[in-house]
């Protein structure tokens, strides 16, 4: 499977590296990049299909439920830095909603399930900076693009039309419309200086370069997020 086809299959976990992307862009494909500087573009393949190609993110943050003490300092750090206010709902790392009863919510077996009302395991949701980001691909106005420096999928707040398409599309429940500003929020890796990781008092969140992040987030022995839930509550 070559990278061109791969790029068209948004479900695939493999992705186009930044180097490959630049090669693609420079190879004189039919069609042109919409905006090369934004690290993504729409191309036409030889057989005439339009495909979106995204430069990979430089990496992603990964959360370790085993070290997490549920303090939510990451959430406050995220929104104070990026929004000038404290909030859990629009934090781009989601701890609060899974804190007490885990990702799956209250069950009859809550006392043994994830969360502080159960086995104490706190599993956060984090943005995976997906190689083919559902949020960005769903956005009807192209307001979500890859940051040219970090590769993070970032929202251009001036272009965001508050439709919530990204929120509906994100499989991890990260993209969130701020109820106060009506603008989409999602992890932008803090311009390369993730504030949540610095403020975690147990070292439970770390930034990993893409290959490692991909393995941790999507690999068979993933330790974070959705994959950890079934393993942990088994």
């Amino acid at each position: 499977m070559d990278s061109k086809q791969n790029a068209a299959d948004s479900g695939s976990k493999r992705s186009t590296s930044r180097r490959d992307f630049l090669k693609l862009a420079g190879a004189g494909f039919l069609g042109a990049l919409a905006t090369t500087t934004l690290g993504m573009g729409v191309m036409e393949t030889a057989d005439g299909r339009k495909v979106e190609v995204w430069a990979l993110s430089s990496g992603a943050i990964v959360h370790d439920p085993n070290r997490c003490v549920g303090c939510r300092r990451c959430e406050a750090a995220c929104t104070v830095r990026n929004d000038g206010k404290g909030s859990a709902f629009i934090s781009r790392i989601k701890v609060s909603r899974n804190l007490q009863y885990g990702k799956l919510g209250v069950s009859a077996a809550y006392a043994k399930a994830n969360g502080q009302m159960g086995n104490f395991l706190v599993v956060a949701d984090t943005c995976r900076q997906c190689s083919h980001p559902a949020c960005g691909m769903a956005c009807p106005v192209g307001a979500i693009t890859a940051d040219p420096t970090t590769g993070a999928r970032v929202v251009d707040v001036d272009r965001c039309v508050s439709c919530g398409a990204c929120q509906d599309a994100c499989p991890w429940g990260i993209a969130t419309l701020d109820p106060e500003t009506k603008v989409s929020t999602k992890c932008m890796l803090c311009d390369g200086d993730p504030n949540c990781t610095k403020n975690c008092p147990t070292g439970a969140i770390k930034f990993y370069p893409w290959e490692e992040a991909e393995a941790l987030l999507f690999g068979t022995d993933a330790t974070s997020g959705a994959t950890a839930v079934s393993g942990a509550s088994a």
Binding site: R73, V80, K85, G86, R97, V106, F120, E180
Partner: protein, 708 residues
């Protein structure tokens, strides 16, 4: 409503009698800062003296402060203020809980929640941002808190934060709690919610708390604060040697070390060396399983827990399979300090390990079982007093006398005698469900004495640890910073719940350094004594007392955790271990945009503490606080004896006892420091007016409660 930073600007008001729900403006109370301060003002304005705590006219106020919700370290606690049922005069008092409730209040848009009246049938209050309504409470009434919280969460959503009472609160026990989350209890006011037929308040907030300063400014101050913070109780010196540490302190809660793990984590997490400059290990410094449950608990420890936006994590979260194997209860238990030792105090005959058990295993089982039961039923231990009261009344044959013979015979005293924790299961069921006569053990010491006639020797016995005839025990009193702890403990209507002075004294640095910092803060190194090596009262100690009382009031108003704040010391040798006692003001100014110096905030806290004093005067109907309120029990001012029965005179090495004369001098100096009348300890008209409370002066004058 004006646009506000820090504050949401709104107070939620609920009248359960009429079902009316309305909004009030926070900023009209801003001189009282927030949380406890604003609650005191509302109690003064709206709840007349002589109101019974369980009557519909009483109000219960859930308070957060302007720093809560902004990520300021240790800013997650909730202040609860109401009339206190266990107090003889039903004076106003506050209880406090950690967790995430107040942050959710703020994110839903509410600084305070004031509940009054009484619902005709059980209800719970549902808050989803600005949508607020009452839900039928029939299905959750009578249920233990763990299940009832799950029921409400399944209805409302897993992210709801809930403050709830258990059967003990429903049954209006004086000693009952309001709890939130897995392990955060506020003792004393559960029955007030019960009397209102209010099972719970549940909140979901999707909003925010806005910060006035630029994000970089607050982030920079936060980072600075994180270099000053220590371990639990702001202990800045570790217990065990570390390559970086100049000192160690045997009582320190900085218990992390190489080879000490959260043993039940998968894989185990090592607490390690925790260099003070390393912000990513602050949450590992305090191994509370090891601290509270003993070395045996290491391998049962899953992780630590605590409150919103606090990096310290003072609750241990443990998994004890024995609880399920033996008693059929959930193995996952979380709590802290007296949350474990209080319920375990019921097992006053001890809990010796059984053959085949590890050292300390039975005690760990007893503590976790007791904590789970107390948390589910919602019984308050009165800061450990319930166990001592049971001990006294059992051992002195009082229970045998006052309990009907068949009730007495039906209690499994043999389990207690053997040290079998199963005794707790029967005990909490009887008490929480008001069975027979035994449940009156949860009336609180003053009322137990009235009912069962315990007599003077009960109050005078030092091991009963009763501090005041108002019925509350020692909570960092004479054993903690000499007269400072002793006097701090004389001004409250329940256990003093003051850690400003105890954290200061227990910071862990050598006495010489403590004295230097005391000189900087209180004007003289003599404000501090060495342990069990006390000197007579002096002005520096009076300044220290005032500082401790007002700082704690300030923290409960901002809301910051007084189990951590103030930041008087730091773990940094490079700072010569100095902390920063202006940090509260720096955070307040940045968050709210209202510039305040340390002195400004101290003055605001003095105002609030003086109002609290006025409330106590009004409920007691006397201005003579010195004689009617501020006295201790007799053991405090009686010399102890050494091993050979020889008296150890006060103010010599080896005793922490006080004298009446010295305490009276101390009271006078503290009254004076507050600008109160030195004879009675009541605020004067001039002081009340200077603090901007002429209406308080006028009402006290009209009632004849101003000092001459």
């Amino acid at each position: 409503m004006t646009n506000t930073f820090g504050y949401t600007g709104k107070i939620l008001r609920v009248d359960l009698t009429t079902g009316k729900i309305w909004t009030d403006d926070t900023m009209k109370y801003k001189d009282f800062i927030g949380g406890e301060g604003m609650s005191m003002k509302i109690m003064w304005d709206e709840v007349p003296a002589g109101t019974h705590p369980f009557s519909p006219e009483n109000k219960i106020i859930f308070g957060s402060g302007p720093l809560c919700g902004t990520g300021v370290p240790c800013s997650g606690r909730t202040n609860i203020t109401s009339l206190l049922p266990s107090n003889p005069d039903h004076s106003v008092s506050s209880s406090h809980m950690g967790g995430y409730f107040s942050v959710e209040m703020k994110y839903a848009g509410w600084d305070l929640i004031v509940v009054e009246g009484k619902s005709a049938k059980p209800v719970w209050l549902r808050i989803e941002d600005d949508k607020v309504w009452l839900e039928d409470g029939r299905w959750v009434w009578g249920k233990g808190m763990f299940d009832a919280m799950a029921m409400i969460s399944s209805q409302m959503g897993k992210e709801a934060q809930i403050a709830m009472i258990g059967p003990a609160g429903e049954n209006q026990l004086n000693l009952s709690v309001i709890r939130t989350g897995a392990s955060h209890s506020a003792g004393g006011h559960g029955g007030v919610m019960g009397s209102k037929n209010l099972k719970a308040i549940a909140i979901k907030g999707t909003g925010s708390v806005k910060v006035a300063a630029r994000p970089e400014e607050l982030m920079a101050l936060d980072k600075y604060m994180m270099t000053i913070i220590g371990a639990n109780n702001q202990h800045v010196v570790p217990r065990f040697p570390h390559p970086w540490a100049e000192y160690t302190a045997s009582g320190s809660r900085w218990t992390a070390k190489k080879g000490l793990y959260w043993g039940a984590a998968n894989p185990p997490v090592e607490t390690g060396e925790c260099y003070p400059e390393d912000m990513q290990s602050v949450g590992l410094r305090t191994h509370k399983g090891f601290q509270d449950l003993g070395a045996v608990a290491e391998k049962y420890t899953v992780s630590m827990g605590g409150c919103a936006h606090c990096p310290i994590r003072c609750h241990s979260q443990v998994r004890i399979p024995q609880l399920e194997e033996r008693y059929g209860i959930d193995p996952n238990v979380s709590n802290t300090c007296v949350g474990y030792s209080g319920p375990n105090g019921i097992m006053f005959k001890g809990t010796p390990d059984l053959p085949g058990q590890e050292k300390g295993e039975q005690s760990m089982i007893s503590k976790t079982l007791g904590s789970h039961l107390a948390d589910d039923y919602g019984v308050w231990c009165n800061y450990g007093q319930m166990g001592r009261d049971l001990n006294w009344t059992y051992t002195h044959g009082i229970l045998k006398k006052v309990l009907p013979a068949d009730e007495y015979a039906s209690i499994s005293w043999d389990l207690l005698e053997k040290g079998d924790p199963a005794f707790l299961i029967d005990f909490y069921d009887r008490v929480a469900n008001k069975k027979g006569e035994l449940w009156h053990i949860a009336d609180g010491s003053y009322w137990i004495d009235k009912r069962w006639n315990l007599g003077e020797e009960y109050w005078a016995y030092d091991k009963n640890k009763l501090w005041s005839k108002l019925g509350y025990p020692v909570h960092h009193a004479n054993e903690s910073q000499s007269q400072v702890g002793a006097l701090v403990s004389c001004f409250s209507n329940r256990d003093a719940q003051n850690h400003s002075h105890s954290n200061f004294g227990a910071a862990g640095v050598p006495l010489e350094l403590l004295k230097q910092v005391a000189a900087e803060e209180f004007g003289t190194p003599d404000a501090i004594d060495g342990p069990m090596d006390y000197t007579p009262m002096n002005q520096g100690k009076a300044n220290f007392v005032k500082w401790a009382l007002t700082r704690t009031m300030l923290h409960n108003s901002l809301t910051l955790c007084n189990w951590m704040w103030p930041m008087a010391f730091s773990p940094l040798k490079s700072r010569n271990y100095r902390g920063d006692t202006a940090l509260e003001a720096k955070f307040y100014s940045l968050v709210t945009g209202i510039p305040m110096t340390k002195e400004d905030l101290d003055r605001a806290a003095t105002r609030t503490f003086t109002l609290f004093r006025a409330l106590t005067i009004r409920s007691m109907g006397t201005a003579d606080m010195r004689n009617k309120h501020d006295q201790t029990t007799s053991w405090v001012i009686t010399a102890t004896k050494d091993k050979n029965g020889k008296e150890i005179p006060q103010f010599t090495k080896g005793t922490d006892r006080m004298t009446q004369e010295d305490m009276e001098k101390g009271r006078g100096l503290v009254y004076k420091a507050f600008g109160w009348d030195e004879k009675t300890g009541a605020p004067t008209k001039a002081t009340l007016e200077a603090l901007g409370m002429p209406e308080v002066a006028a009402e006290l004058a009209a009632k004849g409660l101003l000092p001459a």
